[in-house]
């Protein structure tokens, strides 16, 4: 890929494409890019458009025509969305901390070559790739542990991802053995080596895996649908599904808002809905630029060493 140079990007043997070919390629690239960006543009623009702009457009806004952040004030001022947002943030923070620490410990515990039982234990982790327990047995398990309608049901069942564990283990195994052996000669225990050597050397890898987990917790919706009857505990994704996708009447700061938008004087229901979409999207978009390069590295390591 690095065959391109500063002076001429095109290799000497490669003929210049025809004008038609160039146009075709540009169109294809533009189409692919716009297919992703255009819907997001519409959603964001509508969420920050004024009531008048939305009325004139007859719903979603394509051309900017007056701005207003009332929709955000409406959903963040109180009601189900604000509650769900705090739940989602809490689940994501607590869940990620738990998942990351448990995964990192296990990944180190399984990363030392020749250690006792590491092969059967690794096998026990990997087998979870092959066979999932199924929806109903999982539900019965959560039910019999008394975890229905608890926040723990959103965290514990999905706390360990075998994929993340294997990827992190691959990172740990890439730490030069000499570093660890010399610490051992100095008399360090495995706990100390893990805390003082392995973790500081793996900050980037831990950040990647942490964000993998965070995105998964933030995006999870089915666990909540399955385990939470109490809609007061719903995370944002389930709120998005129920009040936006299914369009059920939604409690916001100034009252209950239904599809007709009646009951609310100033803020159009369309912009409120788009604001909820944006809130569900924002954390992912914000962390994405920082992490996407590492994500990709992680995927390739996982694919190669998995």
């Amino acid at each position: 890929m690095s065959t391109v140079t500063q002076t001429s990007l095109r290799p000497v043997w490669d003929e210049e494409p025809s004008l038609l070919g160039k146009i075709g390629k540009a169109l294809a690239l533009a189409l692919v890019t716009l297919a992703v960006l255009f819907p997001l543009y519409i959603v964001v623009l509508t969420s920050i458009s004024s009531a008048q702009a939305i009325n004139e457009a007859g719903g979603l806004v394509i051309v900017p025509n007056g701005f207003s952040f009332d929709a955000y004030a409406e959903v963040l001022g109180g009601g189900v969305v604000l509650k769900a947002l705090t739940v989602s943030i809490g689940i994501t923070v607590v869940g990620t901390a738990l998942s990351l620490s448990v995964t990192a410990m296990a990944a180190y515990g399984l990363s030392r070559p020749g250690s006792l039982l590491h092969r059967p234990l690794l096998f026990a982790v990997l087998i979870t790739f092959l066979f999932g327990p199924g929806i109903i047995p999982s539900y019965i398990m959560v039910y019999s542990l008394g975890l229905l309608d608890s926040y723990a049901s959103l965290i514990l069942p999905a706390a360990i991802s075998a994929f993340n564990l294997v990827v992190l283990r691959a990172f740990f195994m890439a730490i030069p053995g000499e570093v660890i052996e010399s610490a051992r000669i100095e008399g360090a225990t495995d706990f100390q080596i893990f805390r003082k050597i392995v973790l500081p050397l793996s900050k980037a890898a831990l950040a990647v895996i942490g964000l993998f987990y965070a995105v998964a917790y933030w995006n999870a919706f089915f666990n909540a649908l399955l385990y939470l009857n109490d809609s007061g505990k719903w995370p944002l994704q389930l709120v998005l599904r129920t009040y936006i996708l299914q369009g059920q009447p939604m409690q916001t700061a100034s009252g209950v808002m239904d599809a007709s938008g009646l009951g609310l004087s100033a803020v159009p229901v369309t912009s409120v809905r788009m604001a909820v979409l944006v809130l569900a999207m924002i954390p992912v978009v914000l962390i994405y630029p920082f992490i996407q390069r590492h994500f990709i590295k992680g995927v390739i390591i996982g694919a190669v060493k998995g």
Binding site: P113, G134, P137, M141, P157, W218, A303
Partner: protein
Amino acid sequence: MSDRRAVPVAERSPATGTTPARPRDRRERRRPSQSSFLSRLRRDWQLLLMVVPALGLLGLFHYVPTLWNMIAFLDYTPIDGIANSPYVGWGNFVYLMGEPAFWHAVGNTVTITAFQLVFYFPAPIALAILLNSVLRPRLRAVIQNIVYLPHFFSWVLVVTVFQQMIGGAGLTAQVMRDWGMSPIDLMTNPDTFIGLVTVQAIWKDAGWGMIIFLAALSTINPNLYEAAAVDGASRWQRLWHITLPGLRPVIVLLLILRLGDALNVGFEQFILQRDAVGAGAAEVLDTYVYWLGLLTGDWSIGAAAGLFKGVVGLILILVANKVAHKLGEQGIYQRS
């Protein structure tokens, strides 16, 4: 993977830090005996302890529930519990085999997998080849980053965005009304649903799927292209005779793995749209298990359908890996 550390670097001192009297080479695994097990336990107990929380969670929410698939052989109700539910043998499976709704869900699942093999599978390959032809690195990185982005969105978000774009109250309907046409609603039409879910899958994951093909493209030796060009091969001939054969191993591997995963078509995507489209088009095995077991209360029959899917899926995956190994590719559970 122990190879890279196979040469003993130094004697290990015991974890306690006392004098390393006896040589304790952890890599001497040829002579397993009681005493070596104990000494290895004394040396490695901290490592084992660190694995315990993860295994505990996997045990509680993976291994034990897997055992609870046994309710597929009972007439289970939560009130009776497993101990008091009557044993019915293969009865639930026999019932399922005679149940048209079950076969309907199986049929939908297989049809959608086949459809997506034809229409989804080539999308990441085409995208990778297209992007690989972009020479300016900056432009290429920008486009690349844009097309991966939807992979990190939740299915709820993706389906909702689609609803807002092409649903009955969405953007296209709105524009069509403005132009005096009668609006169409593609989100609730069972006839076009299979196309809809495929387009959604492409929108969300084609960019992500492209990564592995881009990596494979970067391993193709540029000298091949040069030699072919010198010999007079056109752009398309090079694509056909160099690029595609270069991608062949990855394509074959992913194709086989997809076949091994044939019964999974994406649960969340379907459960989100089943209500709007109806069970006729949107009922796949996963949604069938969910509705049967948790919404109608037929726990055991639902579990039987789930177990059927799990076991067939396991067989498919093992066969697929076997085939992949036979063809000289790495499977997903290659020996570590």
